[in-house]
Each structure stands twice: as structure tokens, then as C-alpha cells.
């Protein structure tokens, strides 16, 4: 039975009706046409569907859309601000942190969560944070490097603002 759902997606208020069994990722990719969030598996292993819910990284294949009632969802499409890439996006390009780009949105959302809550993570903390995200192309070498570079860039940005 379609059920009303109100939430914010990338800062935009959304009012929509969804079936109770609809997954958050299905809402995002389907009715909301936010196809940057990808589905790479059926067991919540790959992390390609990771989005932020109230600032926390969540695998959107493992959450019902209705569980996002009243909450704020950020997808990869919501990372850039005023036409400028987020430092994490910028760093993934600069460090060659992506090849095919399929896992990349989920990797970046996980990284944004990490850097929001732990602005200067150690390499071990980065590795721990990214353990739920699979990449088959890069061997993770440049992904970890990109997160490190993004942390530096965000620290510099924060410094210049204060």
C-alpha cells in the first residue's frame, strides 16, 4: 500500500508515496532519478550504494525508504557546492582514485562521513572506514591516497575560513 514519505534529498524537500517494501536505493535510483548511487550486489557487501543519512554513511540497499522519514539524505549528486566539486571528489580525480567509477560514489560518501567525524584520520582509520566498500579496479592504492589528500585539503580550507 503506497505510504506517504517526506524527507530531504540533497537539500531538496521531497514528498512522495512509496510502497513499504521499497528500499532507499530504489527510491533514489527510480522515482528520484539519482542514478549516481549504484547497486553492485545483493548482500550488502559492496558498498556502491552508500549515501549519507543525517550525515552518516548508510548502505541504501539495506534501508527501507520509509526509514528515511523526516531525515536528510545526501547522495553523490549532492556533494558539489555552487558548481565546485567537494574536496573528496577533487582528490579522487587528482589521485587517480577511480578507474571504472562504479564503486566511486559509495567510496566517496563513506569518505565524506569519515572526514566529517574524523577530520585527520590515520591510514589505519581510513582503511577501517572503507572496509565495507569494494573496488575491483584500483587495488585501493589510490583510494586511500585520495582520502588522505582530501583530509589535507579540507583542513587547509577550514584553516583559511577560521
Amino acid at each position: 500500500m503506497p505510504t506517504p514519505l517526506r524527507l530531504t534529498v540533497n537539500g531538496r524537500p521531497i514528498e512522495i508515496e512509496v510502497e513499504p517494501q521499497t528500499l532507499l536505493v530504489e527510491l533514489l535510483r527510480g522515482p528520484l532519478a539519482l542514478t549516481g548511487t549504484h547497486v553492485g550486489c545483493d548482500t550488502a557487501q559492496c558498498g556502491a550504494c552508500t549515501v549519507l543519512v543525517d550525515g552518516q554513511a548508510v548502505k541504501s540497499c539495506s534501508m527501507l525508504a520509509l526509514q528515511a522519514q523526516g531525515r536528510a539524505v545526501t547522495t553523490v549528486e549532492g556533494l558539489a557546492r555552487d558548481g565546485s566539486l567537494h574536496p573528496v571528489q577533487e582528490a579522487f580525480i587528482a589521485c587517480h582514485g577511480l578507474q571504472c567509477g562504479f564503486c566511486t560514489p559509495g567510496m566517496m560518501m563513506t569518505a565524506v562521513d569519515l572526514l566529517t567525524h574524523q577530520p585527520q584520520p590515520s591510514e589505519a582509520e581510513i582503511v577501517h572506514a572503507l572496509e565495507g566498500n569494494l573496488c575491483r579496479c584500483t587495488g585501493y592504492v589510490n583510494i586511500v591516497a585520495a582520502v588522505q589528500q582530501a583530509a589535507q585539503a579540507m583542513a587547509t580550507q577550514a584553516g583559511s575560513l577560521s
Binding site: 517494501q21 548511487t37 571528489q89 577511480l98 578507474q99 567509477g101 564503486c103 584500483t138
Partner: protein, 782 residues
Amino acid sequence: MTAANEAGRYGSGQTVRRIEDPALVAGRGQFTDDVVLPGQTWLAFHRSSMAHARMVAVDTSAAAAMPGVLAVYTGAELAAAGVKAIPNPAPFRRGDGSPQATPPRRALAHEFVRYVGEPVAAVVADNPGAARAAADAIWVEYDELPAVADAASAMRAGAPALCAEAPDNVAAEMRHGDAAVAAQGFARAVHTVSLEIVNQRLAPTPLEPRCVLAAFDSASQRLTVRLSSQMPTGVLHGLCDAIPGLQRSQVRVIVGDVGGGFGMKTGLYPEDIVVAYAARVLAQPVKWVAERVEEFTSAVHGRDVVSRAELALDAHGRVLALRVHSLANAGAYATATGVAIQLLIGPWVSTSVYDIGAIDMHYTAVLTNTAPTGAYRGAGRPEAIYITERLMDAAAREMKLDPAELRRRNLIRPEQMPYKNAMGQTYDCGRFEQILDQGLALADWAGFAARREAARARGRLRGRGIATFLEWTGGNVFEERVTVAVTPDGFIEIFSATQAMGQGIATSYAQLAVGVFGVPIERIRIVQGDTDRVQGFGSAGSRSLFTGGSAVQVASERTVARARELAGEALEVAPADLEYAAARFTVAGTDLGIGLFELAAKQREARIFIDSTSAVSGPSWPNGCHICEVEIDPATGAVEVVAYASVNDVGRIVSPAIVRGQLEGGAVQGIGQALCERMVYSSQNAQALSASLLDYALPRVDGFRAFRTEFDTSIPCTTNLLGVKGVGELGTIGATPAVVNAVIDALDSAGLGRDAERIQMPLTSERVWRALKRDFGPSPFA
């Protein structure tokens, strides 16, 4: 701007920001499932739960009656409609001289199912949930038959046969070399070593599952098929061969972003036929997106070869003969590619960088009740090189020689180039000892004893492994067609039928074009994946830069040459009097000139267009020296890669960061085979036991990342004008033997000696722990 400046900043040899990336990091990629067409419907498959069975009945009535269901298809209906099995041109033969044998690989199983996950029926519905539910509601009555999952068991007397043409389950076999000559080598050998080697089955697992979206336009009678594929043109031909009445001119195949391929997305799949067929019959767009479990059970797997391998050496460690007898598991349907990979492509590189004259190889491709095997990163070369490098280490251990020294004594010398190997393959160039020396220096080979001692003090076993090796690239398809269009709005559009799949080929092509045109890289647009534009072989076998890039270079130069003629006409001067730089022709010694894009605007078609076909003259032979160090925790058997140094000859380099990414990302896949990956089928009933990412262990971020990777660019390939060699598979091929040799070295140091060589991949902590207790499990031939 000047041409020199643009080429200096963006041209060949520079690390640039990939032109693919801005869209991908913004979530604006166009993977096939990101495309939604008006009126789109969804298709779901019902798949076989049995590994081998006769199909007694398929009841689709309940499914057909479910809400939202538009159509249900079975194998019987497709066969009645004239849909043919996937054509399988097979140049190979069985031992008795009869043609390669395989059951027909149908779009949907008919009469028999032969592996778990084989598509049996399909449902089209107006939403994905309804399609899935209805597919699950299909009921199939099976008469279950005995099943066999591994090649050695399938060849035994009394094993269940997969088709009448092959009562022994042998699809094809092939012998190479001269068994008598090799036997002489073994007869006069001072040292011989013999190994049983398992190259376990792997699931390629690109992160993007397969997806097909087909739409039929009734007005034009044309079928447009969008899918995630490395070979759009091959898919077009395959669809037309399978679907009755479908003409080649009626099909357009479009490929958007591809979320990884690794060879798995090279051929036509049964599912592609079903989706295309349904779209044509229903005259509505039909989409199928594979679930991960479908990828594990029905996409092609790689490797799965068991071998007995022997090496004969003289007193000085010079190899006298190489003997390899292998059983390759072809799966339930022997595909032309899968068989060629094992029977031919692997053997091409078996003697590798070594001067080995006498070979005796016997490869047998065997049918089993498992998913078909096909191309996976390296495709035959990883298996062959793994065998040779394991033998080299075994021989060094037997002779108590430094494994690097034994290799050195056997390397082909530069003055032997071009060198024809025992399989008749000609290496155009290579300085293998130069690569070896650099590898040993980079890895601090001489300083290993101290590192081993330090590890011992920490209670850990440290081992060191080396692989010196080469591989073959090019796919043996050397011609490429490229079109170039210079448009008045200031862009140069280059179309190639090779296919991007994450390897950054668009960026590399753009860099080559910058070098020719002298324009900023933003002015170059690389377009791929549309069979209405240009058709070609596609991307496989590490061929794209080497064949496609060379073709882009030639096409770009032809475009400037044509533009020079047009500029001569426009300026009423002899073309030879014009100088070209930075998108502008000028009359030498004057300020008279015309811009390239302005010139395009003046043309009748408002563009300058070149349709260019060119070819390289042979394959490329990238090579390297990879050295790995591991540490083992003897209490748990856990293996940790602690150092990895490699020196690689990939010829000249266009995009340094991309090449390094290919090498290191590829090496992690090779480490995955060495340490954790294995596609498992039950030996009892051939059920797939590792059909999810919960069960199949992919390398994760906590694995090894601290690669030291160097390139020797002083040995350009001579078969193409760029001097480049393929790089997509080199890292994967080198890593597996380097890691395994290191683990065996560590086990040897724990007192196992040559017994350590009995361990088989993947080197999980359990297997290493058991090996330390002299428990190696049964022989793979047992």
C-alpha cells in the same frame, strides 16, 4: 597557446586529469542501468537449481497470471520460434579428430540443464518486483542426473556425460612441441622437477553487474540494444546469428559507461539474446539487470586448470625441456574463447622470457556441470606463467641455487631478438636481464636475509618470491578503424570502436590527439560504443592503446594532412608552404593563415572528416620482474604481503598515472588469486557454494597497497608506431606467482623444504596452517 605547450602539458608521457572523471565523480556516469526509456519493462530469469537434469516440464501458468506480467518465455518456445543456440565457431578438435564437442548453449535451457544458474525461463513485467516474483513462481519438473564439477573427475570412466558427441567429456585437446625431443631432454637432464599445480576457478566480478536494455522501434524496424560490454560489434553479430529474421542493419548496439570488464564482458551471453528477443516481440523496451548471484553463477569464470608440470635442467641449471599436461575445466558449454585461452593462448607464453627449445604440452578442455569458463584478466597467460615460475623456483630449490640466478642463466638475450619461441611466437624486442637487474635492485634482493632474520625474531616466517615473465597482447586483431571530425564549434571528435571500461583509454587517446593537433585536451572528444558509427573488434587482450591508440595517432595525422590541403585551397597557396601549430595553418614567413576550426566551418559539410583504417604489424610482449615478500604468522597461517617491488617494460608510456593504476590494480587481482579468491562447486552435486560476496573473498582495502612500481621505457615495441605495449593484464599475471613463490619460500624456511611446493591456491590461513603441519590435502588428480 602553442602546440608545444599543449603537448607538453597534456600530451603523451604526461600525467593528466582523466577526461572520464568529472562525470563519474559527480554521479553523472551513464551505466546501462542508469538509462530509463519511456514504457520500459523489466525482465527476470528463472534459473536452474540443478547442476544436471532432464527437463520434464515447465509450468509458467501461475507466473503468467500474476499482476503486471506481460510475457513469459521458455526454452521450448524460443526453440520453436527458431532462436538458435549461440554460434560457436570452433577450430579445435578432439583427440580422435572429431570437431570440438559441446552441448548447444541456448538462450534458455531446453530439454536439459547443465549447470546451476543456467537460464531456464524469463518473465517480462511492468515493474521489476513483479518480474522477479513471477520468475520465482515458475515451476520446473526436473529428472535429476548425476553431476560432475571438476575436470579430472569428468574424464573418469562412468562420469556423467554432458553431450553425446563427447562421452569422455573431452571438448577438445591439443598437443604442442615434440614429445620425443622433450623426452630426450629429460633423459639427459641432471636435475628434474615435477609439480602438480592447481589454478583455481575465479569469478571476475567487475563491480557493475551485467545489464541489457533493448528497445524495438516499430517504425524503423530497428532494435537498439544498450548493454555493458567490451565488444559491442560482437554482440551485434551474435544477436543477428541467433534471432531469426534479424538483419545486421536492423541492430544498433550502444555501450555507455562500463563498470569494469576484465574480459568477462567480451562475448555474447544467453541473457542478451532473451532480452533482445523479448523487446522485438513485445515492441516495448525491456531491461534486465543482473543480481550479483546471477553474476557468480552465470557469467563466465576464469582459470580452472590442473596441471602436471615438469622441467629438465642440465648441471648448470640451463633448461633442457618443459613438459606440461593440463586439464582445463571448460564448464558446461565449451566456448570458442574459453577453449582457445587454455589450448592456445596460454601455451604461446609458456616458455616466457626463457630460452627453452624443447616443449611437450598437452592441453585438454573438459566439459563439467559448471558455468562456462572464458576470458578473465590475463586469459591463459596467468595460468601458463604461474606454472613456469613455480617450476623455476622448484628447480632452484632442488639445485640449491638463488632463484634469480637460475632465471638469469635461462633468459633470452637481447641479441637473440627478434626471438621465435618454441610455440612459433615471435617476440619483437625485450631486454629481460636488464629488467631483472633493476627488479633485484628495487627489491633489495641482497638484503633479504636480514629482513628474514628480523621477522624470525618477531616470531614470523618471512619469504621472498620472484617472477620474471612476459605476456602476449593484442588479441591478434591488429586493424582498427577511427573517424575524426573537426567541427566549427572548436572540437575534434574522435570515434573508436575500442571500448572504455575503466582503463582510461579515452584520456590516453585524447593525449595522443593533443600531441598531433596541438589543442587543449578539452577540445578533444573521444566517443566509443555505438555500432552505427564504427564497428570493430572491441577491447580485450590489452589491445586498446596499442592498436586503437596507434589508429588514433594515424587518423589524427591524416586529418591534419587533409586539413592542410583544404587550407591551401582556402588561402590559395601550396599546402607545402603551410605551417601547422596549435590548430592554425600559417603561410611560412607571413602572418597570413587560417584556424583549423574556421577551416572546418568553410567546408560544404561544415566539418573536416576523416575515416581512417590502419594496422599494427604484430602483438606486443610486455614483461616484468615482480618480487614479493610475505610474512606468515605460524600460529594462524595468516599470510601478509609486506613488500612488492616490480620493474616493468611496457614500452613507451602515454599516461603514467593510468599505467601505474593498471599495474597495481591488476596486481591486487593477482594477489586475490594467490591468497583468497576461489569459486567453489560442491564435489557431490555441483552446486555453486561461493555465489555471493559473502562467500567469495575479494581483496579488500585492508590488503597490501604499498607497491613500489617502476617502468623501463627504453625498449619501445617495434610493431606499432607509438612503441607501446599492452599493460592491462601484466600486473595480474606477475603477482600470483610472485606471491605464491614467496609463501612457499617462507614455508621452506620453516623446514618443509620441497614439500612446501605441494600447497595449492588460494593460500588461505587454513591451508597455510595445515601446510605447516604437513597436511596438503589430496592431489588435484586424485
